[in-house]
């Protein structure tokens, strides 16, 4: 049971990295990013492909974050001109375009065949130790990201972000250009997603474009809604709840043998949908968020 829990824990932490970045973009700054999975994908592919060429992992991780951050710039620019729901669609289109490029440019990305045999993080340790080491590294990464985000939120930069979210006109009136800050927030969130992607690639050891679909973005959104928009604790709690639910539903079926596996999949999706609706209706602030939104 423990090796399974270690694996589940690793998945929770990877999603947590994604959620922290997204929460900073939406919760703090009010930017609606429906293309988050694109940065996850770019980070995963960058790190995987470089590692297969022999580059050392710490370097590939750093490059993965950088590539994701740079890729966020066009979206940041778009955010300047577009209102919220338009931005949502454009970011979604962006992530689908990234996925298509990964799918088509076979020479670089192996296309739909995917990239097998990615070196496992801490693979040299072997067996259980590898899995534990990955978990610990992820814990460290999440702790670092949370701490950095916390500092950011408490800083003048953070206040500016919240001001942009609540009253952008006032910012401009004060002579500050929201553009710079929006782009920076996009880049920071994207960098976190890129690192999450690198961890993912070296954990699963096989990546393909079909793993980076918009549904992943929606799962992350669900996490921050459940946990509480704008709250760091919320990001963590939300991802825990999300993964607990997705994985927990396996065991529920073991206890309730009347439901066939085929139907269980439908039941799982139904409960996800219902949970979204109910949370939005009755507890929009999530578990830890602030009431006024």
């Amino acid at each position: 049971m423990d090796a399974y829990l270690v694996a589940v824990g690793s998945v929770v932490l990877i999603y947590a990295l994604l959620a922290i970045g997204l929460n900073l973009q939406y919760g703090e700054t009010g930017l609606i990013n429906f293309g988050h999975v694109a940065f996850f994908a770019l980070g995963a592919y960058t790190s995987a492909l470089l590692a297969l060429r022999g580059w050392p992992l710490p370097v590939t991780f750093a490059v993965a974050a950088a590539v994701a951050a740079v890729a966020a710039v066009p979206l940041g620019l778009a955010a300047l001109r577009l209102r919220a729901d338009y931005l949502a669609i454009v970011t979604l289109g962006f992530s689908e375009t990234v996925r298509l490029v990964l799918q088509e440019e076979r020479a670089i990305t192996h296309g739909v065949q995917g990239v097998p045999g990615i070196p496992k993080l801490f693979g040299a340790l072997g067996g259980r130790s590898t899995d534990l080491a990955i978990l610990l590294a992820l814990l460290a990464a999440v702790a670092l990201a949370a701490w950095a985000t916390h500092l950011l939120k408490a800083s003048p930069f953070g206040r500016l972000l919240r001001a942009i979210r609540d009253n952008e006109a006032a910012i401009t009136a004060l002579g500050k250009d929201p553009a710079r800050y929006k782009i920076q927030v996009f880049m920071f969130g994207a960098a976190l997603a890129g690192i999450a992607g690198a961890f993912y690639a070296h954990f699963i050891t096989f990546i393909s474009p079909e793993q980076f679909v918009p549904l992943v973005t929606f799962y992350v959104w669900m996490s921050i809604i459940l946990g509480g928009v704008g709250s760091l604790r919320g990001s963590l709690a939300g991802t825990l709840m999300l993964v607990a639910f997705l994985e927990g539903s396996r065991f529920i079926r073991d206890l309730v043998p009347g439901v066939a596996e085929v139907q269980m999949a439908s039941v799982r999706l139904a409960i996800v949908g219902l949970a979204l609706i109910l949370f939005v209706l009755y507890r929009p602030q999530g578990l830890f968020g602030r009431r006024a939104n």
Partner: protein, 412 residues
């Protein structure tokens, strides 16, 4: 026709109860052998996954009813891969770590198999799949992975052989944009070019589109005499419908999982007339398929020809059980694994059911299980080198017109 709820509940219920009771209560001579059925119940593979899962569970019931294998009963644990590698990894981890399975059977998509293989290899478990990607052979470092579906390259070679035999000179290809679809058409192209031919047009199309007319038009512009596809049922339905309505007259060579009775049901006999459907077959006089088909049709309400992967999944379990029987009581996973080629490859007395095989093994005979899906002769990579049945749809029925063999040592 879809499966009735009652039928679906029956076997998983039994399996779930079996797993809920302490092993000691049910075990006969030895501890039960735990089998993980890891299939695509949802996602892109969902047309096939439930049937595959049912086939494995049916086989387990059959083996247990015949007294078990190697003195042990078989126990099933089923999980859904969702046809996604990351979901499959967690499902596999749960099966390995929580349910303590000793073999994982029935992964379908290449991405899933490639993601799960490192886990089963690390835990030294047997893995059996129906995926097509070439990488699976090369990544199979410990010889624990067994592939029950012809590789993409072999399929492509079969398509090429069929096209050549029928005298076509100007083939074009249309591929579903995933590893399997492209793998098949690439396999075809390599085999065709090896014969000195040239593919006049090729197109890769996206899944889930409402129409494929522009893709079809691109291919038809080069006036091919046959179009070879790597496709699935929904897209094939749309493509053939649009092709038929356009009035073009070329031939089609389509994989058996896409050109099956459901296609005829959707489009009618006239549109499907003359389509060539290719899939792997067992030896001509093997009764294994008939035996399996009878059980499957009863359980699922539709014949096994509607799900080409179900017989493969069934064979996985029977092969495993026969290997267990051959390895004897108290055998380790490694010992069981070592007997797989023994009981499945020639020479030996051909057997087509578990009971037959068990009886023959009791008489110390060497057996050769000829499966429901193919004759199951595994090569050095653990891949089957099956024969391919060439079926032509005539008046709404799939009629076998030919059988094509690709040599076991074929390399593109």
């Amino acid at each position: 026709m879809s499966v009735t709820r009652r039928e679906l509940i029956a076997t998983p219920l039994a399996a779930a109860l079996a797993s809920a009771l302490p092993a000691g209560v049910l075990a006969q001579a030895g501890e039960p052998f735990r089998v993980g059925a890891l299939n695509p119940i949802t996602g892109a593979g969902s047309p096939y996954g439930p049937g595959m899962q049912r086939a494995i569970l049916m086989a387990i019931e059959e083996v247990n009813a015949a007294g078990g294998a190697g003195g042990r009963r078989l126990e099933a644990f089923a999980e859904d891969t969702q046809t996604k590698p990351d979901a499959a990894v967690l499902a596999a981890k749960k099966l390995i770590d929580v349910n303590k399975v000793q073999a994982i059977l029935g992964t379908w998509s290449s991405g899933v198999t490639l993601a799960v293989m490192p886990l089963t290899d690390e835990a030294n478990l047997i893995q059996m799949n129906v995926s097509g990607a070439p990488a699976i052979s090369t990544q199979d470092k410990k010889d624990l992975v067994w592939r029950y579906q012809a590789t993409n390259d072999r399929f492509g070679a079969a398509f090429a052989e069929i096209a050549a035999k029928r005298g076509y000179k100007r083939p074009a290809t249309m591929a579903f944009n995933n590893a399997s679809g492209i793998g098949n058409t690439e396999g075809f192209r390599k085999a065709w070019e090896k014969r000195g031919g040239k593919v006049v047009a090729s197109v890769v199309y996206e899944p889930n589109r409402p129409s494929y007319r522009s893709e079809l038009q691109k291919v038809l512009a080069e006036k091919p005499d046959v179009i070879v596809t790597g496709s699935y049922l929904p897209d094939t339905t749309i493509i053939i419908r649009e092709w038929f309505q356009s009035g073009d007259k070329n031939a089609w060579i389509i994989p058996g999982w896409a050109a099956n009775p459901d296609l005829v049901k959707a489009l009618g006999a006239e549109a499907c007339e003359g389509l060539i459907s290719v899939d792997t077959v067992s030896a001509e006089n093997s009764g294994a398929f008939k035996h399996f088909d009878a059980m499957y049709t009863k359980a699922m309400g539709r014949p096994a020809t509607t799900n080409v992967y179900a017989p493969m999944a069934y064979d996985m379990l029977i092969v495993l059980a026969l290997a267990m029987e051959a390895a004897g009581p108290g055998a380790t996973v490694a010992q069981i694994n070592a007997r797989i080629r023994d009981i499945a490859n020639p020479p030996g007395t051909p057997v087509s059911t578990f009971a037959e095989g068990k009886a023959a093994l009791a008489k110390k005979q060497k057996i050769n299980y000829e499966g429901a899906s193919s004759k199951l002769d595994f090569d050095q990579y653990g891949d089957v080198s099956p024969d391919f049945g060439v079926y032509v749809i005539e008046k709404g029925q799939l009629v076998r017109r030919d059988v094509v063999s690709i040599p076991a040592d074929y390399r593109p």
